[in-house]
Amino acid sequence: MELSGGEIVIQSLKDEGVEYVFGYPGGCVLHIYDAIFKQDDVKHVLVRHEQGATHAADGYARSSGKPGVVLVTSGPGATNAITGIATAYMDSIPMVVITGQVPRPVIGTDAFQEVDTVGITRPCVKHNFLVKDISDIAETMKKAFYLATTGRPGPVVVDIPKDITDPNIKVSYQYPEEVSMRSYHPTVSGNIGQTRKAIKLIKEAKRPVIYSGGGVVLGEASEELKQLGRTLGFPVTQTLMGLGAFPGTDPQFIGMLGMHGTYEANMAMHDSDLIIAIGARFDDRVTGKVADFCPHAKIIHIDVDPASISKTITVDVPIVGQVKPILLDMLAQLQSLGETFDRARIGAWWDQIDQWREADCLAYEKDTDTIKPQFVIEQLYNVTNGEAFVTSDVGQHQMFAAQYYPFDKPRRWINSGGLGTMGFGLPAAMGVKFAHPEADVACVTGEGSIQMCLQELSTMLQYDTPVKVINLNNGYLGMVRQWQEFTYKSRYSHSYLEALPDFKKLAEAYGHVGMQITKKEDVEPALREAFSMKDRTVFLDFLTDTKENVYPMIEAGKAHNDMVMAPSSKYKRILA
């Protein structure tokens, strides 16, 4: 088959099985856009801002497990995409981003709309390519998808100069079936000797905790994690990125850990004698003060990326490889032991955990006139039967969603954890809707965050991707305000958002349904009404308590057993 460079780009996507490309046209990608025009297998979604394209592709990827694909022009198109690329990079999301580049002869001359895309994106991609020859396009595309989706996933940028996409220059096309790279051999199965060592520690453990993370979601190992948890009867805590891999409603789940984790999860980590870290990377939001992290515990760490191991916390038994085969291997070894593991075997430990649970750390004040943000999330959970895909932006609302909406399945909770990108939620929700057109999709956001990618409401109308926007409008950059209350004696420097728009009218102006909810008793009915409008995007502007805080909280530099508790929690501060 003889194809032009532009056609090769699109044909490669087709051969890769890509359904949707999220993009925005411009000079250097016009040949590629012309190739898109001439076919209908690969569908293009025209966003309103390139950041929106990257987050939408990201939401599509997180909710489906398939790589997200983005197409943007050179210069400003590429720079606008950076935030979304970095967001995907920090959370290890598979994504292929195609950027147009100025024609080869003018590269390096400060040509119109030229930026060094490979240079600018280098620190926030798994890998990137500048394609220099038309005959390299197909193989580079293959490599890009291969790199993005294998090992520790991540975004890959393919920068393509305009002149090699010229419709008048054609070469023979064949998409490679396979690709191998001598410098890239991600580990799959774990070392048997290491898993044996792990099993030995598991047998001896008296106060074990399973600490699982985003790697279990990325590695499609939720079933194996559940099996391991249930076989062992150990308590399970999950990171913000791991939520849903182990069911949030399971009695063995002790809540999220870390800065805004539950009292029981953090106390259990602190007192544990064995941590089994599975696809988690000991992030600073999780460890708190490194020197006081799990002072009594041996640590087993399963991770596909050797660089994640002993990066911030030195571990005792590292196991490098994909979570799934490693957990299967551990399960097989456990079975052949012929020993009974159950709750009773570590009964004293569960008694202790149940005692910590009595703190009721997520209790919040219910007899108020104001709408509590936690209450809105609880009602969202009820109204959607806990089955919705929930995306979020960044701030207090994100933490409330994580704490009060227990996810029972992986890939249902979609948020920016590593980069913490405000503006992520709305375009991500749109991306989710493309992957799951029939599912209920909610975007939990705040009046600050939503204004960072609001323009995608327009895309959502064009492509008919009905999402329910749950705006927890507290009139503040709440998360910032909370830190200022705790550490700056309530000097609220620039955390108050004045001159907010009328969100109801704004939603209507974009052709959607807008609602403003000011009374507690209207919360549930409004949610029901919104979710009953299956084919409409509904923007629910909840005017919530302006001064609510997220609890528990481990302040920066503090240890796991040093938490600030909610005023309404039974225990105040530090029980240990």
């Binding site: 490979v118 280098r122 500048l130 410098s183 660089a307 191991i309 030195t314």
Partner: protein, 164 residues
């Protein structure tokens, strides 16, 4: 405890590969004392040698992060094996009888030699281990007008080698 390590790697000989390595060091605030790179007998591969300083944990992370770069094909920490290390230095001094004598006396221990003698200026060349070069340089101290060093290169001794 911080220690100096000489890390040698085979890199895809592609545009931008070097900046991935140097970018990694600046982005992650690792030390880099010297870095030298050139193509090998296989033109698709470059050999890069770098000298860095850090605690055992930091060096471990540096090696893992380097290995993670897609363009890095293979890596060896020469400080962990029995290896031979060399660096080349060129330096310029003003010619005088005293200087010539001094260099001759120094060259007995160090193999330094005068490679160029032009218009009253000498260029002295010396190859050796980094510490010898440091000593040589300090013994000439204030008289050095200009100096250039290649940075350390090295090979492990015996059968062990870094090949694909």
């Amino acid at each position: 405890m911080s220690r100096q390590h000489i890390i040698s790697l085979l890199l895809e000989n592609e545009a931008g590969a070097l900046s991935r390595v140097s970018g990694l060091f600046s982005a992650r605030a690792y030390n880099i004392e010297s870095l030298t790179v050139a193509a090998t007998q296989d033109p698709t591969l470059s050999r890069l040698t770098l000298v860095t300083v850090g605690s055992d944990e930091t060096i471990e992370q540096i090696k893992k992060q380097l290995n993670k770069l897609i363009d890095v094909v293979k890596l060896i920490d020469l400080s962990e094996s029995f290896s031979l290390e060399r660096e080349l230095i060129l330096l310029k001094v003003k010619k005088s009888d005293a200087m010539v004598q001094k260099i001759e006396s120094l060259s007995v221990e160090s193999s330094a030699r005068i490679t160029d003698d032009t218009d009253g200026y000498l260029i002295i060349e010396l190859t050796g281990e980094k510490v010898w070069l440091d000593d040589f340089l300090s013994s000439l101290a204030d008289e050095v007008l200009e100096v250039v060093r290649t940075g350390v290169v090295g090979l492990s001794r015996g059968e062990r080698s870094l090949t694909v």
